[in-house]
Amino acid sequence: MSMTMNGEVQLPAPRAVVWEKLNDPKVLAACIPGCESLEQDSPTEMRAAVKVKVGPVSARFKGRVELQNIVPEVSYRIQGEGEGGIAGFAKGGADVRLEDGDFGSTKLFYDVQATVGGKIAQLGGRLINSVAKKNADDFFQNFTAVITGDKIVG
């Protein structure tokens, strides 16, 4: 089944800083909810293991993530797919775009399209959108903490 989500967040740092953090695997690993590991294979390819809970289904997704259509400091697309064992699979991507905001801030726009299958679709279908939204909110809350220095990523 397919899922879409989009949104806009205001980040308290200039575009160059936001872009740099968005391309730092350590930052991403620290900010992605449930991320257990994120290893870089090449400048645009990563392997990730993420623990996700959707309603009654909890699963560890292992998969590959690739950065595509990179326009430095402006936009990229994160494309990935993961297998969650008997919980099913997820694949999809997010288009991310940055614009200058007021007072040295940055506006980040995201547009997610994903498909999920297996148990996560069977049991979690009605919950997927709310779980995805919550994960996005948590990600940007963590990300904001990193760029304001409230959260130190070592």
Binding site: M1, S2, G85, T115, G117, G118, K119, A121, Q122, L123
Partner: protein, 788 residues
């Protein structure tokens, strides 16, 4: 006359053990050294398996073995079979793809079986299953019934081009077309018969147990027909010869058809028990049941009726596409063909009928028999068609039906069936009276005043039960005969065990079959025990489905009882030293006419076993007889159901206000149990019409895979049912029984949709008529618009 004989509402003797937790279901059974199986299932609807890596999983704690389709093939275990050959109209046999119990190269629906992990505990098996790495090459899926056969759709099996298993037909096309050419009026409808998930209370389960000492296998399984399971597992799948394979179906908690079939899981458990040298148990969880139990219905149909100037139906034309799922289940091919189209004459005298059915593969769970199996689909077609025709012609739907009813019997329809007996007008008149049809207009006006839409709908159904004369079904492609067996064992003190090939999984056979024995032998019901569900005890049987256990199973018992009475009469005559033909047997007493000599049944039994008082050269000791009964014809239960609903157009909530059911099941053995069957059937039919809908998304993901998303009927959805009976005994079996197990589910959907469309004032609503769908449909209701 005993109080436990035929026609008495004897309380179900089995219920005490069920409601006190003393039932013995498959999951209640544990074998020494038992292991637990967990299946790795496909999360994709359609994919090629590139690789399966079990290395990490095999090293996980507690794992005893991991098996895949490769090992299954290496052991030459055959694929699952479809036991009914259907030929297309061009004469070619149906085109079926292979159906391995564990997928070999491809997976074809979400839930398809990829591997089995066997471990010391269920949790260890489940945890290890997480570690099985399967690499898939995912393909686009075919999901939609109506378009599955269109060119360019993803192909489910290479053997079936355009996903078409068969293009079947029945009836005379030219004669039917001629009737349409001459028709004064033609009614046309398009229908979808929604796909259903069976949802028996007890999920499926299996334990495979191989005995290395004797080389025999025992399979405990939730089956409606353990002997058929043994036959298929032996002769086709090749687990072991029949004499080395025992199948036990102990207490089974409901089936509704879904436990007729021989599935992958029990096949794998019995095979694996030898591989891992330990008993292997599998119990289905509810979501697995949603994914893998054979689903029901799923038809897309266009139907037309030709009507002459006097209002007589002169022809019916039907074109149906039936979704068979990703593989052909055990009887899948017969359900939308021979169990469907021959019922399209309904209760009506229709001289010309022509029906075409395309059976199609899709990337969805297999579809097979579900309570009614083809007959609910046929009834929905003919009863919607007749109702709409009456509305178009401005005729009262009850009067229009009666105008077209068959009134003389036997009646040969143009589509195989020969109805032996019935009185359709009697059921209709009784139902109209019980439903206070005359008062409907006033009730409708009162509802309208309150801003509600009230509607009434009819369903005058017929079904073909007691499947079936073996020779007849053989000529139509069935791979088995459909007789039934019984053995009556009289013990020396006159108690009786009856071994039957029928299987009880909710029907109450332990009560009703004992009532027949009590009635015929004149002994208390407590002295009778019914034995079923074990191939080591009952020699052979065909099982329970198609409302056949009364009409066929009890007829076999009746036949064996007559043999027992004949033998007992011979013994009694010898003991009493009177001629055999002077003995009458009534109410359990053998009495020599014109003398004061008599013996009770128990005394005769004892004499048969002690064998002191007759010449055992001439009379064999003992009292035990068996019989096989092959029915002469199908039986034809019929009836009229009238639904009355009130719709709130502001919320879309449909309240079923009244439900009247008048059924003719022939002879009733236990009226209370019959009424219970009617209640349960109607509840399922109302579920189909208003609540239950199975949804696969475009990629083939089942998004209604739990009770959170799949709505089952509950007590508060149902009114108090008003049930009546008329009786014309069946003329083709010795007891006059017609069968009652499916009637409610067959009749109800058409009655309810006819009532809802009557309330709405238009025909544009599909099943399930959920509140959302009804609310949408009510917006264009002429009655609602007029009120505003």
């Amino acid at each position: 006359m005993s109080t436990s004989g035929i026609g008495q509402s004897v309380r179900r003797v089995e219920d005490i053990r069920f409601i006190t937790g003393n039932g013995n279901y498959t999951d209640d059974i544990s074998r020494p050294g038992q292991t637990y199986a967990f299946f790795v299932r496909s999360p994709h609807a359609h994919a090629t398996i590139k690789s399966i890596n079990t290395k990490t999983a095999a090293a996980a704690p507690g794992v005893v073995g991991i098996l895949t389709g490769k090992e299954l093939a290496a052991d030459k275990i055959g694929g699952l079979i479809c036991g009914w050959m259907i030929h297309s109209k061009d004469g070619s046999p149906m085109k079926a793809g292979a159906h391995p119990a564990l997928a070999v190269d491809k997976v074809r629906y979400v839930g398809d079986h990829v591997a089995v992990v066997i471990a010391e505990t269920l949790n260890q098996a489940r945890d290890a299953a997480e570690l099985v790495e399967v690499e898939y090459d995912v393909h686009a899926a075919t999901v939609d019934t109506a378009t599955a056969a269109k060119p360019g759709q993803p192909q489910v099996h290479a053997e079936a081009p355009n996903n078409t298993v068969y293009n079947w037909h029945i009836g005379e096309k030219d004669a039917t077309d001629a009737a349409f050419a001459k028709a004064a009026h033609v009614t046309k409808i398009d229908l979808i018969n929604n796909r259903l998930v069976p949802n028996a209370m007890e999920p499926r389960a299996a334990i495979g147990d191989y005995d290395r000492g004797t080389g025999t296998y025992t399979l405990f399984t939730t089956s409606q027909n353990p002997h058929v399971a043994r036959l298929v597992l032996s002769a086709f799948i090749g687990i072991a010869p029949e004499n080395k394979l025992r199948v036990i179906a102990p207490d089974v908690g409901g089936g509704f058809g879904s436990k007729i079939f021989i599935y992958a899981e029990e096949t794998v458990c019995i095979w694996a028990s030898k591989k891992v040298r330990r008993p292997v148990k599998w119990v289905c969880d509810r979501t697995e049941a949603f994914l893998c139990d054979a689903h029901g219905r799923d038809h897309v149909t266009h139907a037309e009726a030709a009507i002459d100037a006097s209002g007589k139906i002169t022809g019916v034309r039907v074109k149906t596409t039936a979704n068979l799922g990703a593989y052909l289940s055990t009887f899948a091919s017969s359900v939308p063909t021979y169990l469907y189209a021959p019922l399209l004459s309904g209760q009506y005298n229709i001289p010309n009928i022509y029906c075409e059915v395309d059976g199609v593969y899709t990337n969805t769970a297999p579809v097979d028999a579900y309570r009614g199996a083809g007959r609910p689909e046929a009834t929905f077609v003919i009863e919607r068609l007749v109702e709409v025709a009456a509305r178009e012609l401005g005729r009262d739907p009850a009067e229009f039906r009666m105008h077209n009813f068959i009134t003389t019997f036997p009646h040969q329809t143009p589509v195989i069936m020969a109805y032996d007996t019935g009185d359709y007008g009697a059921s209709m008149k009784m139902a109209l009276d019980m439903a206070d049809y005359k008062g409907f207009a006033a009730r409708k006006a009162a509802s309208a005043k309150a801003g509600k839409l009230r509607g009434v709908g009819f369903s005058a159904y017929i079904e073909a039960c007691g499947i079936a004369p073996s020779k007849a079904v053989g000529s139509l492609g069935a791979g088995v005969g459909l007789w039934e067996s019984a053995e009556v064992r009289v013990n020396p003190v006159g108690t009786v065990e009856v071994l039957t090939g029928s299987h009880s999984h909710g029907q109450g056979h332990e009560t009703t079959f004992a009532q027949l024995v009590s009635h015929r032998l004149g002994i208390p019901i407590e002295q009778v025990t019914i034995v079923h569900g074990d191939t080591d005890k009952v020699q052979m049987g065909m099982g329970t489905y198609g409302s056949r256990s009364g009409a066929v199973g009890m007829s076999a018992i009746q036949k064996a009882l007559e043999k027992v009475i004949k033998k007992a009469t011979t013994v009694a005559a010898a003991v009493m030293e009177v001629p055999e033909d002077t003995i009458d047997f009534n109410d359990g007493i053998f009495e020599a006419r014109g003398t004061n000599k008599k013996m009770a049944f128990g005394e005769v039994a004892l004499q048969a076993y002690v064998a002191h008082k007759f010449d055992s050269e001439k009379i064999e000791p003992g009292l035990k007889e068996g019989a096989f009964y092959d029915p002469k014809n199908f039986t034809f239960p019929s009836g009229v159901h009238i639904a009355e609903v009130e719709i709130d157009p502001e919320t879309g909530i449909t309240k079923v206000e009244k439900w009247t059911a008048v059924d003719d099941f022939g002879t009733l053995i236990n009226p209370m149990i019959v009424e219970g069957q009617v209640h349960g059937g109607i509840a399922q039919g109302i579920g189909q019409a208003m609540l239950e809908g199975t949804v696969y998304d475009k990629s083939g993901q089942l998004v209604t895979a739990s009770f959170m998303d799949y709505c089952m009927p509950r007590a508060h959805d149902l009114p108090s049912f008003n049930v009546g009976m008329t009786t014309t005994p069946c003329t083709t079996n010795p007891l006059g029984i017609k069968g009652c197990g499916e009637a409610g589910a067959i009749a109800a959907p058409a009655a309810l949709i006819n009532a809802i469309t009557n309330a709405l004032g238009h025909e544009n609503i599909a099943m399930p008529a959920t509140p959302q769908a009804v609310w949408q449909a009510a917006k264009s209701s002429p009655h609602k618009i007029a009120a505003e």
